[in-house]
Assembly symmetry: C3
Homo-oligomer: 139 residues x 3
Amino acid sequence: MWLQRTITLAPKPRGFHLIDDELISSIPELKNINIGLMHLLIKHTSASLTLNENADPTVRHDLERHFNHTVVEAAAFYRHTDEGDDDMPAHIKSSIIGVSHTIPITNGALNLGVWQGIYLCEHRNYGGSRQVVITVNGE
Amino acid sequence: MWLQRTITLAPKPRGFHLIDDELISSIPELKNINIGLMHLLIKHTSASLTLNENADPTVRHDLERHFNHTVVEAAAFYRHTDEGDDDMPAHIKSSIIGVSHTIPITNGALNLGVWQGIYLCEHRNYGGSRQVVITVNGE
Amino acid sequence: MWLQRTITLAPKPRGFHLIDDELISSIPELKNINIGLMHLLIKHTSASLTLNENADPTVRHDLERHFNHTVVEAAAFYRHTDEGDDDMPAHIKSSIIGVSHTIPITNGALNLGVWQGIYLCEHRNYGGSRQVVITVNGE
C-alpha cells in the first residue's frame, strides 16, 4: 500500500516546534498499516525536520540557542546576504539538521521512542507556512 | 517483503562504536533480498546513528573529540540542565548527526562502501542499552 | 516496482555541487512511477549529500566556507592525520551532513520544493569520482 499527501503546516515563529499532531491527524490511514515506513520531506531550504525530546520545552529553547551560537548571522564570509541576516544561517542549519526523515510504522502507529517527538525547525524569522510531503508505504 | 524487528544494543561507553555485526546478525533474512532497503531508527534522543570510516579507530576518537569541542557541556545559555552536563549536548548531537538511516540492500547484503561502517554514537556518559527498530522492505 | 542502479559521478572540486541532472538522467524509469521514493547513498566517508538552494551559487560558496570554519583542518586533538589535513574534517562533515537521502516521487518526477536541488558535497581537495547507489521503489 502506497499513500502520498502534501500538507501545509501553519506558520510558526523561529525555533523548534513539535508537529506530531499536525502530521498524524493528516494520515488517518496509518491505523491500517501493520508494518511500514512514513517518509517526510519539507519542501524548503530554510527550515528542517528532526526528532528530539518531546517533554521538556527547555530542550527546544536550548537547541535554538545552540544553532544560533554555532551558525552565526552576518558572518564576514557570507556572500548570500540579500534576503536578510537570518537567511544564509537558515540554509546552513537546514543542511546540518536535514529536511527529510523516515519513521517506522508498527501496528497502526508511528513507532517512536517514548521521548521522541517530530520537530519542525523554523530557521527564518518569518518563515510563513511550510509544506511537507508525506509518503507512506506498508502492508 | 516486509520485515520489522526491534533489537537492543549492549550498553556502550560514550563515543562512536561500529555496530554492523550486531545489526546484520539480527536480520538473517537479508540474504533472501535481491533489491531492497533497510531502515534503522534509534528510539532515543541522546544517541544517534551515522555511517563513517570502519577501519582506523582514530577516526572514531576524532569524531568524539570534534563534537565535544563544538557542542560544549554547561553552555551558559542551557536551561535543560537537570539531568547532568552531558544531557543537553547529547540532545543537540542527536539532531546534528541524526537518529535514522536507510541503507540499500543488494544481492542479499547491505550495499555499503568498502570503508563504510554503521556507528552507534553514544552521547551520554552512561547511556545504557539502546533500542533500534530495523525495518526491511525488498524483493 | 523496485529498481536499483549504481552511478559514478564525475570528479568535482572541493565544495558543494548540484547533481540533479546527473542523477535524474540515469533513471529514465522515474516517469513511470506514480507514487514512490528514491533513495540515494553515497558510498564514501569523505563526501556527503544534501538538499539545499538551487538558484544562487553564493549559497554553495557560503556552505563551503561555513563548514570549513566550524570543522577546522589540523585541530590539535586530531589523531587521524596520515591522509592529509583535509581528511579528518571530511569525515566529520560527512557525518554532520549525511551520506544518504530519500526523496518522494510524484507523477513521474522527483517531488522537491521549487528551490531545492540535490548537492554532492565534496569534502576532499582531490576526491575523485564518487559512487552513488540509487534505489527506487514505487507503483
